[in-house]
């Protein structure tokens, strides 16, 4: 076996081991991970995902990823599958980045550097660690599709690309970002007079039409309801600013990694104004489309950074080639090995520290044992049709762990009157007027309340002040209260 493949295997193993280390630091998943957990459990139990069971509103999502996880769960224990399989998918970005970088640079060491950069993109490393995120699958897939796209002149790769596109479009709506990237590449290539093969144009044409059709078919109902506003998923105004944020360069540097970020910017600058290389134009087109979408707040910040980080990681390989060639031309050529080693150390330091620190914080932010115990208590001791009020972030835990109805969760797309519901939720949780709170609790049929608030400075109302209306039924922290009063 070639030495490079051993190195690549070692990088993959290191990334995977680091992911598992952090992931298993907590037995639980991140808050949104419980949505996937419930869907996988539903598929295992009934063969179909749950689009509205227990949640306050109908859910809308593409379930292919959940079916894949459920498939593995038939063989291995589900908890283990949900911890390990998404991390295998996410770690595979290392291999895909190597392949893509090698296709562009034809330089093995450069591609290994690209693989390291891809394995430790801080934002991607921390956010896909414990969240059973669909992006742990779609980001490596999208990079693989770019690799297949560059090889479409070989007939077999056309089939690979088309099949991959089908899987991508069935897995996540972010396939449309991929299409926009391809279209932008086509336009850029035309402007720059780069020769495009017939098969490339055909594949772009087909993919664009196919993904558009498939997504219109899948999202027909929300598109008819909200039109172009479907992009913003009906998220309440108070929450939208947290998810659709304009890109801040400092944040981008931190989330993507200092060295890869500047290396990526340098490569884009160099190939935009000084040199022409079709493969780099392809990556550049994607980076520019995502940058534009982030700037216009058309894509969620995290998702945009996932794409941007992966592309910049691949471009890092090209940066290494330029850097290496530059050293050869200088008097420092004699100490090239030393410089390359220093370069490698700098890369690892600029990525490992932010990645691990973000991962540590992701683990810390996972639901605590106490919260999970309280919800498990609720599953055993409350009525089957009980409605439990908990913070928005805890919504999926109420349905997945307690197996009870929630009042609100983070799936807003089909929620009617969401602004009112969210405002009512805040009124119940933070209002000092008990009469108003009880009236609203009655309105939503709330039976139990968990009085904690995740990631917020405001403290929820103290239910202990009114022992007549709120009876504490579960005493350990955070406590569960039963709402027993009616306001006529």
């Amino acid at each position: 076996m070639k030495r490079e493949y051993l190195f690549l295997g070692a990088i993959f193993a290191a990334v995977f081991a680091a992911r598992l280390y952090f992931s298993f630091k907590t037995p639980h998943f991140s808050y949104d991970g419980y949505f996937a957990l419930r869907q996988v459990s539903e598929i295992i139990a009934s063969g179909v995902p749950s689009f509205n069971h227990l949640s306050y509103s109908e859910h809308f999502f593409l379930p292919a990823f959940h079916y894949v996880l459920a498939g593995f769960s038939f063989i291995f224990p589900p908890q283990l599958v949900l911890k390990i399989v998404p991390n295998i998918f996410a770690s595979s970005l290392v291999i895909v980045a190597y392949l893509l970088s090698y296709e562009i640079t034809k330089h093995r060491s450069a591609s290994l550097f690209a693989a390291i950069a891809a394995g430790f993109i801080p934002v991607y490393f921390s956010e896909t660690l414990n969240s059973i995120s669909v992006h742990s699958f779609t980001i490596p897939l999208s990079m693989f599709l770019l690799y297949a796209f560059l090889k479409t002149e070989k007939k077999g790769f056309i089939v690979v690309f088309v099949s991959g596109m089908l899987v991508f479009a069935l897995t996540d709506a972010s396939a449309i970002i991929f299409i926009l990237g391809l279209l932008f590449y086509m336009a850029l290539a035309k402007v720059e007079n780069l020769t495009q093969s017939k098969s490339e144009v055909e594949v772009i044409l087909f993919s664009s039409l196919f993904v558009t059709w498939l997504l219109f078919l899948a999202f027909k109902a929300p598109l008819l309801e909200y039109g172009i506003m479907t992009i913003w998923q009906n998220i309440p105004e108070a929450l939208i600013s947290a998810r659709f944020v304009s890109l801040n360069p400092i944040e981008a540097v931190y989330y993507i990694g200092l060295l890869p970020f500047f290396a990526g910017v340098f490569v884009i600058y160099r190939y935009m104004f000084r040199e022409k290389l079709k493969q780099i134009y392809l990556l550049m087109s994607f980076a520019l489309v995502i940058f534009l979408m982030l700037w216009l707040q058309l894509v969620e910040l995290k998702l945009g950074l996932f794409f941007l980080g992966s592309i910049i990681a691949v471009l890092f390989g090209q940066f290494y080639v330029i850097f290496s060639a530059y050293i050869d031309k200088t008097k420092a050529a004699g100490v090239k090995s030393l410089l390359i080693s220093l370069f490698a150390v700098a890369l690892v330091l600029s990525l490992i520290w932010p990645s691990f620190s973000a991962a540590e914080s992701a683990v810390q932010n996972a639901p605590s044992d106490e919260v999970i115990s309280a919800l498990e208590w609720a599953r055993e001791n409350t009525e089957n049709d009980a409605v439990i009020l908990a913070p928005v972030e805890l919504g999926h835990l109420v349905t997945a762990v307690a197996n009870r109805h929630n009042v609100i969760d983070t799936n807003f797309l089909f929620a009617t009157g969401i602004e009112q519901r969210f405002s009512d939720f805040n009124d119940i949780y933070f209002s000092s007027s008990e009469t108003d709170s009880i009236r609203l609790l009655n309105k939503y049929g709330v039976d139990y309340i968990i009085p904690i608030q995740v990631n917020a400075s405001k403290k929820p109302v103290n239910l202990e002040l009114n022992k007549e209306c709120f009876k504490q039924v579960y005493y350990p922290d955070p406590g569960i209260y039963k709402s027993v009063c009616d306001v006529n």
Partner: protein, 454 residues
């Protein structure tokens, strides 16, 4: 030709049959009801509000078919003849037979066409007259050319935009000199661009509202299908090297784009010819082009067919649930049996109120710029005295509230604004409630003798 007639009959009459099956044959939308109200007025000898020859023709047919049936059959008839004329024009222009037949097929599937030729509006007749005048214009017989000029001039009776469009298209097609053609296109483009610059300053025109009107797949009533838009863009690019041979179509696109900014969103309906033609050009190119991979070619064509049919079937699939429903009609017919009075409701309900109940709406599409602000404030009032002041000022007797008004059209919450005031039973009396549709009477006026419509 027989195929075009048969398919156009099936597609343009599909909304009628779907409404017959699910909503007792009630026409859909708001504009059809305005046409029917006007037709009834004309039958009664009242010509006020009559704005197009369509209203007179509808009234004529209504006298022996009944207004509701005439309102549904007349647009279908115009649709069938228009499809036929469109095909004949393209054949006469020496176009590739494949493009002509594909254009006719796209013409039948564009949601804008389906709206124009199934809702009872003047657009069906305007499109037909436009095609007829152009068909005669292409004839070598002088008399027919003369008739074509008369027909084109008569388009001014349907509004300034259709007249302007046909004038510009006619002018562009007589220019034979290549440089003059280019100059003409450039000037037109600049004018359309200026219209957009002008409209950007207008706060009403937003990307969101525009996409909601113009794309049927985003819920637009008379918009284009997403695939029709994509294929049109492709067709424009493919045809670009031969742009001067398809100048009338390019002119139409530029005119409609300008018209959207300057006139109204309804001008998108006049894009159906260009959209059908360019979509056909794109598909013909896909069929004739030598592909590197036959697999990709076949898959692409399948996706195109599925995509176009998706927009069409999705649009037709909305017909059974479109308003007005039988429940709305029932509630308003009940209101019609009450003493005469002025009815407060959302302006979009005004034609239904007038048609089904015969009562007079306080606000409609025409006076909403004048009174809309005050009526909106009235809906938002939680102060009974302020509300009474406006209710008295507008001589309001009834308040008719449908489900759409309570779920976002006017109010978001159950006791928001004026809904809260209905608790006051000295001022308001609930007359009727069925299927969530409420009819209230305003009984708290300080001027008890003001009701004068009996």
């Amino acid at each position: 030709m027989a195929g075009i007639i048969a398919i156009s009959f099936i597609l343009f009459s599909a909304p009628f049959f779907l409404r017959l099956a699910f909503q007792g044959g009630l026409p859909f939308g708001e504009e059809s009801y305005y046409s029917m109200v006007l037709a009834e007025r004309i039958s009664g000898g009242n010509l006020s509000g009559v704005s197009t020859p369509y209203n007179l023709l509808l009234s004529l047919f209504a006298s022996f078919l009944g207004v509701q049936l005439a309102a549904q059959l007349l647009p279908i008839a115009f649709g069938i003849f228009s499809a036929l004329l469109f095909y004949l024009i393209l054949r006469r222009l020496d176009n590739d037979p494949l493009i002509a037949i594909l254009s006719a097929a796209f013409f039948l599937t564009v949601p804008s066409s389906l709206y124009a030729f199934s809702a009872s509006t003047p657009y069906s007749m305007a499109l037909f007259v436009m095609l007829l005048s152009f068909y005669f214009f292409l004839s070598k017989i002088r008399v027919l050319k003369g008739i074509s000029v008369i027909l084109a001039s008569s388009l001014v009776l349907f509004g300034f935009f259709p007249f302007l469009l046909s004038l510009v298209v006619f002018s562009s097609s007589v220019l034979k000199n290549r440089q003059k053609q280019l100059l003409f296109l450039s000037i037109l483009f600049l004018l359309a661009f200026s219209a957009w610059i002008y409209s950007i300053a207008s706060p009403q025109l937003t990307f969101d509202s525009l996409s909601a009107y113009l794309v049927a797949d985003f819920g637009g009533l008379f918009g284009l299908g997403m695939f029709h838009i994509i294929l049109t863009v492709m067709g424009i690019v493919v045809m670009w090297p031969h742009r001067l041979s398809a100048q009338p179509m390019y002119v139409s696109v530029i005119m409609v784009l300008g018209g959207l900014a300057f006139f109204s969103v309804h001008t998108i309906i006049y894009a159906v010819f260009a959209v059908s033609f360019f979509s056909a050009v794109a598909v013909a190119y896909m069929l004739k082009h030598k592909w590197e991979s036959s697999l990709i070619r076949n898959l692409t064509l399948i996706v195109v067919i599925c995509g176009v049919l998706f927009s069409t079937t999705s649009y037709l699939g909305r017909m059974p649930d479109m308003e007005p429903t039988l429940e709305i009609a029932e509630s308003l017919e009940w209101l019609g049996r009450q003493p005469r009075g002025q009815v407060l409701s959302h302006y979009s309900n005004s034609f239904w109120i007038e048609y089904f109940s015969g009562q007079e709406p306080v606000i409609d599409q025409f006076n909403r710029d004048l009174v809309g602000e005050e009526i909106d404030s009235l809906f938002a009032f939680r102060n009974i005295e302020s509300a009474k002041e406006t209710l008295d000022a507008y001589y309001i007797n009834y308040i008719w509230i449908d489900n759409a008004m309570k779920s976002g059209e006017v109010w978001q919450r159950p006791e928001e604004g004026m809904l809260f005031l209905f608790r006051n039973n000295e001022t308001f009396k609930k007359l009727d409630e069925r299927y969530g549709i409420e009819t209230w009477e305003y009984i708290g006026s300080d001027f008890p003798f003001r009701v004068s419509f009996n």
